[in-house]
């Protein structure tokens, strides 16, 4: 089945999933996947993350879709919020795209699905006021479906 997808990438994703199941992190669970695209170009995984207690997202759950291409883990996965609930957050656009440096310039192959989920939970937790980014309307109208085609400016370290 994984004929076209490189074995090394598939194997690493598999090992991550085994690790995810072996030691679960509270608020981060595997929802579905791995699903391979019909053309063997990428593998999709959907993670469910819960807003942490004591934060503005307490009690909310969000679906994060990870899309790993054949260069994973040398290239970052494409990570977007999907489904009906996209968190209202100054770095999350209403189409689900996330402005987070580790998903772009600061990606490292030592990062994993789990550590990315934790970073996003932490990014949500440090938010004090629920609001969309100021350029949300414009960005959502003009952006590509793939957030990696966007050249992000990482300017805000506080939230």
């Amino acid at each position: 089945m994984a004929s076209g997808f490189p074995v090394s990438s598939a194997r690493r994703i598999h090992k991550e999933l085994v690790a995810l199941q072996a030691e679960s992190v509270p608020g981060v669970t595997l929802k579905s996947g791995p699903t391979e695209s019909t053309n063997d170009k990428f593998i999709d995984i959907v993670m469910e993350i819960k807003g942490a207690e004591g934060t503005v997202y307490n009690g909310e759950t969000f679906d994060l879709r990870f899309r790993m291409n054949e260069r994973y883990p040398f290239e970052s996965p494409e990570v977007v919020f999907q489904g009906a609930s996209v968190p209202l957050h100054p770095h999350v656009y209403s189409n689900g795209h996330i402005c987070l440096s580790i998903l772009g310039n600061d990606w490292s192959p030592a990062l994993t699905i789990q550590s990315v989920c934790l970073s996003i939970v932490s990014m949500l937790s440090s938010c004090k006021e629920k609001k969309r980014p100021p350029d949300d309307q414009f960005y959502v109208r003009t952006a590509s479906l793939n957030p990696k085609h966007t050249r992000w400016m990482y300017h805000d370290d506080t939230v």
């Binding site: 089945m1 994984a2 194997r11 999933l17 085994v18 072996a22 040398f74 030592a110 994993t112 934790l118």
Partner: protein, 210 residues
Amino acid sequence: MDDTPSTSRMDDVNMDQDDPDVHAPSTSSSAFGQAETGKGEKDGEKPKENLFECNICLDSPNDPVVSLCGHLFCWPCLHGWLEMRPEGHQTCPVCKAAISREKAIPLFGRHSKGEDPRNKAVPPRPQAQRTEQTRHANFNHNPDFTPFGFGGGNNGFHMTVGFGAFPFTFFAQTFGLLEAAPGHAQQGLVSKIFLWVAIILIFALIFIDL
């Protein structure tokens, strides 16, 4: 790998890792069964965490190398990462310290042949693509810079040198003459003043025309 005595330095390798992998048999995902059979001999034999795992493929390292910051990788994995980064911007995947091919130390166990893994041909890897960001910055700079230099910069430069310096030297010379002969007749002085007015007018005309 398992016979190797564990040194304190090597223990650190895994401390930074968020997700120590557990060698448990596959429970899900038929899609990965095939990939698993490749190197899955250790499954079941060692259920606890393996301290010696490559930080990139999360597997027992093949041709192990260690960075100066103490992080363990397979040489093919680290090489793949170094290829992705432009020279001089190569960082350790775990701690972001500067690394390079020369600063990767090969590890030789008891039964290893002692061949430097860095000299081995590595499997074909994805070509570097992430260099484009620094290049883009340069491309953006150059077109901006060149027209600016030709446009205002050069013209302004010629004007000030060509016409600015010349009249000043001329003035200085005539002033020098004036001072050299202070006791001359009033008529001479009046004619000198007229000459001055004429000169100033001529220069004013030249400057206004330009």
